[in-house]
């Protein structure tokens, strides 16, 4: 799980072009959207593609996104639960 969290942080920084951030700057439980990291609806769409491209998971209902993308931890949990190997 810890490896996945670190990997996710790096991928998020790259996908969302968060140039000034290092993985250590992102707390795994802090909200990604709104007051936390300050991401917005366009970033949510980018994360949906990240899930599909890197983990083969297609979000069935984009409205699920709010829960899945709440924090790095919730993303990791979702991936672990849904990834087909």
């Amino acid at each position: 799980m810890a490896d996945l969290i670190e990997k996710l942080k790096t991928e998020i920084i790259e996908a969302l072009n968060l140039e000034d951030l290092e993985p250590d700057d992102i707390d795994k439980d802090s909200p990604l959207f709104g007051d936390g990291l300050g991401l917005d609806s366009i970033d949510a769409l980018e994360l949906i593609v990240l899930l599909e491209k890197n983990y083969g998971i297609k979000l069935q209902d984009p409205k699920e996104g709010k829960k899945v993308f709440f924090s790095v931890q919730t993303m990791a949990d979702y991936i672990t639960a849904n990834q087909k190997n």
Partner: protein, 351 residues
């Protein structure tokens, strides 16, 4: 129709961002393409927004911010933009992704930012400006179209403060493809075989003005008129268009203290050379594309140059092609064309 220039913001291949300094260290352009000298964007744009913005968007937003501050205007009454190419880097990014990924796993950011009105829209969001917002995209008269619209608005309501911009970017990829297609070859109808075409140096820039109908001593200069025409059949056609334009503004050629020509270098082309030794032969002549490069909205750079010349009452030596420093400098004519397709005249006057 007249419009006073009350603010400037210019990011170009020269050091032009600081409004107090005027072309003090002129650099020679890199051939075959030259990029702008870019400021530190972090001083103007929040990191959370900056991270997503491509180069031309950063340039446009920053030059606009500088310009509004210079004019002392917080929210303009209109935002009118000219851009011939729009956002090239984002367009290339999305297009390449579509092709390489065979239409799978595509992400929205570069698509959203590829629409031509993105710069104007972004400025509106940042300023919470709900006012008139237009973008013109017609080759090398994009800025002139935006200027015309701005002047029409001021004619309707002189109290307006309008943010007017001209911007275009160059990328290595865009240059490579267009160079292959011969789009940088200077106008030359008498091509001989074997022929190595003379080429323009490709450039880019983001130049913004605040214009208003209100006269103030701090104003830089004023726009008096703009006119465009398409594929003139002969240099005679250009001369008659010029006379018509001057006449419409109550002027003759002898009223022009300086004409700024859109020729790329001292060689010019057969059209510039013909008019220079024809109707313009008694007029002081200057040029500007050796400073900014060739791009669709380079005439915005020319207008910035003219505004500074009129305010400071001096023509930089590097600009003067023929003639002398006239005092006082009252009227500057700008004439631009590249490859004899779209021509434009702009007239600026000292305040």
């Amino acid at each position: 129709m007249e419009a006073y220039i009350s603010g400037l913001g210019n990011i170009s291949a020269q050091e032009t961002f600081d409004n107090f300094v005027f072309l003090e260290n002129i650099r020679k352009l890199d051939a075959p393409l030259t990029f702008c000298i870019e400021p530190n964007y972090k001083e103007f744009i929040q990191p959370i927004q900056l991270r997503r913005m491509g180069r031309i968007l950063r340039m446009g937003v920053t030059a606009a911010a500088k310009c509004l501050k210079d004019a002392g205007v917080e929210v303009p009454d209109a935002i009118i933009t000219g851009t011939g190419l729009g956002l090239v880097q984002d367009t290339e990014k999305f297009l390449t992704a579509v092709i390489e990924n065979e239409e799978k796993f595509l992400t929205p950011t570069s698509f959203i930012q590829s629409t031509h009105n993105t710069v104007g829209a972004h400025i509106a969001v940042m300023l919470k400006c709900n006012n008139y917002n237009f973008t013109y995209v017609h080759s090398n008269i994009s800025f002139e179209s935006a200027l015309l619209d701005s002047m029409m608005l001021i004619n309707e309501n002189s109290g307006l403060n309008i943010l007017l911009g001209g911007l275009d970017e160059i990328t290595d990829t865009y240059f490579k493809i267009t160079d292959k297609a011969g789009l940088w070859n200077k106008y030359n109808p008498e091509e001989q075989i074997p022929h190595i075409p003379e080429k323009a140096i490709a450039g880019e820039g983001a130049t913004y003005f605040v214009i208003t109908g209100v006269s103030k001593p701090e104003n830089y200069a004023k726009f008096m008129g703009v006119s465009t025409f398409y594929k003139p059949k002969s240099t005679g056609g250009i001369t008659s268009n010029l006379l018509k334009f001057l006449n419409h503004n109550g002027l003759t050629i002898s009223d022009i203290d300086l004409v700024l020509l859109g020729q790329n270098d001292t060689n010019g082309d057969s059209i510039y050379n013909s008019i220079r030794s024809g109707i313009l032969k008694e007029t002081n002549q200057g040029y500007y594309k050796h400073l900014c490069g060739e791009y669709y909205t380079s005439s915005a750079f020319a207008a910035w140059l003219a505004a500074n010349i009129l305010k400071r009452q001096v023509v930089p030596d590097a600009v003067l092609l023929k003639g002398k420093q006239t005092k006082p400098l009252k009227k500057i004519l700008i004439w631009n064309h590249f490859r004899n397709i779209n021509h434009s005249f702009m007239l600026l006057s000292a305040c």
